[in-house]
């Protein structure tokens, strides 16, 4: 239900809020910023939630599967595949909502979905890390919504922020990929490489976090 209901609500909320922000002196809201920002936030938040729920209450029975005879790599692979599959579902649904609500026709729809998929996998893994560290669904969800919100807004570059941290937020490069795919029909190799590096590093951290959580339960 959340997968279907949340994306249009978020896109509309971004549309309304950025329209208001755009009225402020010195603020320039780029074309499609609301739609792109909303799409990014909805993707990140939903995928992150799925990541949190994967871990909190989900990995404890995994130990029992190992006792029953499953190999740890089989269970780990299943979890990773679930995150990727869930991310693909989220990216597709958000893209469909984006096309429904937006007047913009993306130059390269496949690349747009690909950029959203990268954002989803990034935040799915972040959700796994947050879930492992916090261990509670409500607190993990709250951290996720604030993180995704700040990240999506920072990546948009709408609000002037004099800080280098903006270049390193998880959605910075997926946003650049998304914008480029929508307006230019291409994706910069550099952005793809950096975003891919984020995914790999987060995957390693997520594996460690899940393992450490398993040892302390």
């Amino acid at each position: 239900m959340l997968l279907v209901v949340l994306p249009p609500i978020v896109l509309l909320a971004f549309d309304i809020s950025l329209e208001t922000i755009g009225d402020a002196p010195g603020i320039e809201v780029p074309a499609a910023a609301a739609e792109l920002g909303g799409a990014l936030f909805a993707t990140a938040f939903l995928a992150g939630l799925l990541g949190v729920f994967q871990v909190v209450g989900g990995t404890e029975p995994d130990r029992r599967l190992v006792v029953c005879g499953y190999q740890p790599w089989e269970i780990l692979s299943a979890r990773l595949l679930t995150i990727v599959a869930a991310s693909a579902l989220v990216a597709t649904l958000v893209y469909a909502t984006f096309r429904w609500l937006s007047d913009i026709t993306p130059q390269a729809p496949v690349l747009v979905i690909g950029a959203l998929l990268v954002a989803a996998v990034t935040y799915g893994l972040l959700g796994v890390i947050i879930g492992s560290l916090i261990g509670r669904e409500l607190e993990g969800s709250l951290i996720l919504v604030f993180l995704a919100d700040f990240d999506a807004f920072a990546a948009l570059g709408v609000i002037p922020m004099d800080s280098d941290i903006i270049d390193y937020v998880p959605l910075a490069h997926p946003h650049a990929m998304l914008e480029s795919a929508v307006h230019d029909g291409t994706v910069a190799t550099g952005d793809l490489a950096v975003a891919g590096t984020y995914v790999v590093v987060l995957a390693v951290i997520a594996l460690l976090a899940v393992r450490i959580r398993g040892e302390t339960i």
Partner: protein, 260 residues
Amino acid sequence: MTGRALQPRLLRADGGIDTDSAATLSATELKKTYRSRIPLSPTVEVLDGASLSIHEGELVGIVGENGSGKSTLMNILVGVLDQDAGAVEKRGSIGWCPQDPLLYDRLTVRETIHLFAEGYGLAPRQRDEQLDWLADRLGYEEYLDTRIDRLSGGNRQKVNLSVALLHDPDILLLDEPYTGFDWETYLSFWELTEELAERGTGIGIISHFVQDRDRFDRIYELQDGQLQVDTEIDERSAGPTEDTSDGTVDHEMSGAVGVS
């Protein structure tokens, strides 16, 4: 129940369990300390040289105060937690029933059994026979297509126990397995346990119930990180115990177990 052929219990001439034979499961000088990764948080030493053995056909009780480390001990015996020192040796397959039902909430009972049966390597026909038998024996046939998170606590515990019994293991390790059982299921559980022991399954049960003491061949008490044999009973007696007023087994009714 399908699975292994009937095995005679290893009884001595005087009727006791032959504990001189090789143990089905043995743990030697287990040590475990939980070290906090956060500075200034306490380090907790749980096990400090705990040793026990469970033989074929033997029913062993493990008792101790709350927080004494019983579940930690069981997690080490099962293999889901690494010990800091000591050794665990097992001969045969393990069936583990943890204190908290480690089940996937969004699966139905049937899906849960299918998932774990796959891990055990059970053929579909054997799996279905076991499921029918366990559901009938423990009384949850009507809930086979109900999601785990929609079961009552008692029914969830029945499924938890069923996962441990599904593959007819050589060693059964049960952590307070009858929490939330109604009286009839509680009695059915003990009948089932005795049948399994008669067939040669070595069984270790963490239990708080004083009334159950006479059911065990041996009882270990975990205190100060070590296991002391509380009593050795040559023949298990399974006399009737008192019913509770609401028909359920009360987890808190027993009080402390005395050391003989």
